[in-house]
C-alpha cells in the first residue's frame, strides 16, 4: 500500500489513533546549548575583573552587578523602578497596539480607507520616532503622558503594518469559500479573516513590543525620577557602572520575559500553521 501516499502529502499523515486524541508529546528536554557561550563569557569577565585586568570603575565584575541588584531589591527601590517601567510599557503597548489593530484592520479590509489613510500613516512612519520627543514634551510635559505616548507611537507602526499586510494577504481562495457559504461581512471577518491574519498579527505585536522597550528607555532617559531608564542615567551621573549594568540586565530580562509571554500565546493560537518552524519543533 506504499503507493497510497500521494504527491500532495505535506507531512506524514498521522495514524488515526494519534490524530484523534492528540495530546502533543511532551518535548524532550535538551541541553541548553545556547547557554554555553554566555556562561563562558561571564566566567571570563568575572575572572578578569577579579585579577584586576579590567578597570573596576568602568567594568565591574558580574557578581558586583548582581550584588547591586540585590541591594536595590532589599531597599525596595528595585520593585518601584520595575513596576514603573513595566507600567509605562504596558500602557503604551496597550494604547499603540489597540490603535494599530483598529487602523490596520480598517485599511487592510476596506480599500477606500487604505487609499485615504495609508499614505498619511506611511509618511508619519518615516519620521524617526525619537524626533517626536521635544514636541511631546512641549505638548504634554515631562511627566507620564508624554512617555506613554512616545512608547505608543513606537508600538503603533509595527502592529499597524502587521495587521494591514496580514489582512491583505489572506488567501482569496479561502475568502471565496466563505462567500460560497454566504457568510455576511462580520461572520466572514470572524471566521476567515481573523484567524488567517493572526500569524502576521503576532509578528507585528512582537515587533511592536520590542520597539516599546526601546522607547521606554528613550522616554526615561529624557527625564524621569523613577524607572529602569532613570537608573541608567543615575548610574552615569554618579559614576557607578554597576548600576548601569544592573539596569541593562534588568531590561534584558524583562524584554525577554514579555516577548516569551507573547510567543507562548501565539504558539498556542497558531498550532495549525504548516510551516518549517512548527513542524521542526
Amino acid at each position: 500500500m506504499f503507493f497510497m501516499a500521494d504527491s500532495l502529502t505535506l507531512t506524514t499523515p498521522l495514524p488515526p489513533a494519534q490524530a484523534t486524541n492528540a495530546p502533543r508529546p511532551a518535548r524532550r528536554w535538551q541541553w541548553p546549548l545556547g547557554a554555553v557561550l554566555p556562561l563562558l563569557l561571564l566566567g571570563a569577565w568575572e575572572v578578569l575583573a577579579r585579577v584586576g585586568a579590567l578597570p573596576p570603575n568602568l567594568l565591574p565584575a558580574p557578581t558586583k552587578v548582581l550584588a547591586t541588584i540585590g541591594v536595590l531589591a532589599r531597599t525596595g527601590e528595585l520593585w518601584q523602578h520595575l513596576g514603573i517601567t513595566l507600567g509605562r510599557v504596558a500602557l503604551g503597548f496597550g494604547l499603540g497596539g489597540a490603535l494599530g489593530t483598529v487602523l490596520g484592520a480598517l485599511t487592510g479590509y476596506l480599500p477606500l480607507m487604505r487609499r485615504l489613510l495609508d499614505p498619511l500613516l506611511q509618511g508619519l512612519r518615516n519620521i524617526p520616532s525619537l524626533a517626536w520627543v521635544p514636541l511631546f514634551i512641549l505638548w504634554m510635559g515631562i511627566y507620564e503622558t508624554s512617555k506613554v505616548v512616545l512608547i505608543a507611537v513606537g508600538v503603533f507602526f509595527p502592529v499597524y503594518l502587521g495587521v494591514m499586510s496580514g489582512i491583505q494577504n489572506v488567501d482569496r481562495k479561502l475568502v471565496e469559500v466563505g462567500r460560497v457559504y454566504r457568510l455576511s461581512g462580520l461572520a466572514l471577518v470572524r471566521r476567515v479573516f481573523l484567524p488567517a491574519t493572526l500569524p502576521a498579527y503576532f509578528v507585528g505585536l512582537r515587533n511592536g513590543l520590542g520597539l516599546g522597550w526601546m522607547f521606554v528607555v528613550a522616554a526615561e532617559i529624557m527625564g524621569a525620577n523613577k524607572g529602569l531608564g532613570f537608573l541608567l542615567i543615575d548610574g552615569q551621573m554618579t559614576g557607578r557602572p554597576q548600576t548601569i549594568l544592573a539596569s541593562i540586565l534588568l531590561f534584558a530580562v524583562l524584554g525577554r520575559c514579555t516577548d516569551a509571554l507573547l510567543t507562548q500565546l501565539g504558539r498556542r493560537l497558531l498550532r495549525w500553521q504548516d510551516t518549517h518552524g512548527t513542524n521542526a519543533s
Binding site: 500532495l8 507531512t11 469559500v177 460560497v180 454566504r182
Partner: protein, 247 residues
C-alpha cells in the same frame, strides 16, 4: 432544475470569456464540461456558483434567478481550500454553523463516515494527504445537502490512483443520496468526464461556446478499459480536436 440561457461573460479588460451558452440540466443528472484550458469552462461554473456575474443571459435554478451563492448549490474547488486553523470536523461543519448543534454534529459525523475520515475528525489540514484533504472538501460540500453540486476540476491535482478512487467514491455518493443531487463538473480529463457523466458538453474557446453535447449511454459502473468506453473517448477527443486544428 438548472437552466443557463444565453450566458456571456466579458471581463473588465475586454476579454470575452463566454458567448451565448445555453444549457439545461435535469434533476439528478451528471453533466461535464470539457475543453482546453482557457476555454471559459471554469468561469461558467463560477457564474453558476454565484461567484461571478454573467455579462449577458441568466441562470435559473428551479425557475428562480440565481445571482449570488445559493444554499442549495454546493461547490468543490480544484484545491481543497480547507481552513488551516480548523480541524477536519470543524472544516466540514463550516457551511452549516447556522443549524442547531445536534443537527450539525449528526450530519458531520454521518458525512465523515461516508468519506471514510471519521478517525481523522480531530486532525488539522496540514496532517492530511492531498487525497484526504480533497475528501474533506467533498464532505464539507455534502454536509449542506446541496441539490446542485458544482465541481471545478476537483481531482486534477491528485495522482492517478487517488483520482480514480475518488471518482468512484463520488459516483457511489451520488447514487446513494436521496433525492439524487445534480452534478455539474468541469474537467479537462476526458476519461473522468466519461466515467462520471450522463452528458458531456464540449466547449471551444476564445470565446467559450458549446461545440457539441454528447449523451453517454454507457451503463454504470463503467469500465475504463472496455472497447465502448474507448470508442467514446475517441469521439470526445475528436470533438475537442476540431478546435485545436482550428487554432
Amino acid at each position: 432544475m438548472l437552466q443557463l440561457s444565453h450566458i456571456g461573460k466579458q471581463f473588465d479588460g475586454g476579454l470575452v470569456a463566454l458567448a451565448n451558452i445555453c444549457l439545461h440540466l435535469q434533476a439528478g443528472e451528471i453533466v461535464t464540461l470539457v475543453g482546453a484550458s482557457g476555454c471559459g469552462k471554469s468561469t461558467l461554473l463560477r457564474i453558476v456558483a454565484g461567484l461571478e456575474r454573467p455579462s449577458t443571459g441568466r441562470v435559473l435554478l428551479e425557475g428562480e434567478p440565481l445571482t449570488a451563492p445559493h444554499p442549495a448549490v454546493g461547490v468543490i474547488f480544484q484545491e481543497p481550500r480547507l481552513m488551516p486553523w480548523l480541524t477536519v470536523r470543524d472544516n466540514v461543519r463550516f457551511g452549516i454553523m447556522h443549524l442547531p448543534a445536534a443537527e450539525q454534529a449528526s450530519r458531520t459525523a454521518a458525512v465523515l463516515e461516508r468519506v471514510g475520515l471519521t478517525a481523522f475528525a480531530e486532525a488539522l489540514p496540514r496532517q492530511l494527504s492531498g487525497g484526504m484533504a480533497q475528501r474533506v472538501a467533498i464532505a464539507r460540500a455534502l454536509v449542506a445537502q446541496p441539490a446542485l453540486l458544482l465541481l471545478d476540476e476537483p481531482f486534477s491535482a491528485l495522482d492517478p490512483f487517488t483520482k480514480t478512487k475518488l471518482q468512484d467514491h463520488l459516483l457511489d455518493i451520488w447514487a446513494d443520496t436521496r433525492p439524487t443531487p445534480t452534478l455539474l463538473l468541469v474537467t479537462h480529463d476526458v476519461e473522468e468526464a466519461l466515467v462520471l457523466s450522463d452528458r458531456v458538453v464540449v466547449l471551444h474557446g476564445h470565446p467559450g461556446r458549446i461545440n457539441q453535447t454528447l449523451t453517454i449511454d454507457l451503463p454504470r459502473p463503467r469500465r475504463r478499459t472496455c472497447p465502448e468506453f474507448q470508442a467514446w473517448k475517441q469521439r470526445v477527443l475528436d470533438a475537442l480536436e476540431t478546435e485545436v486544428v482550428g487554432v
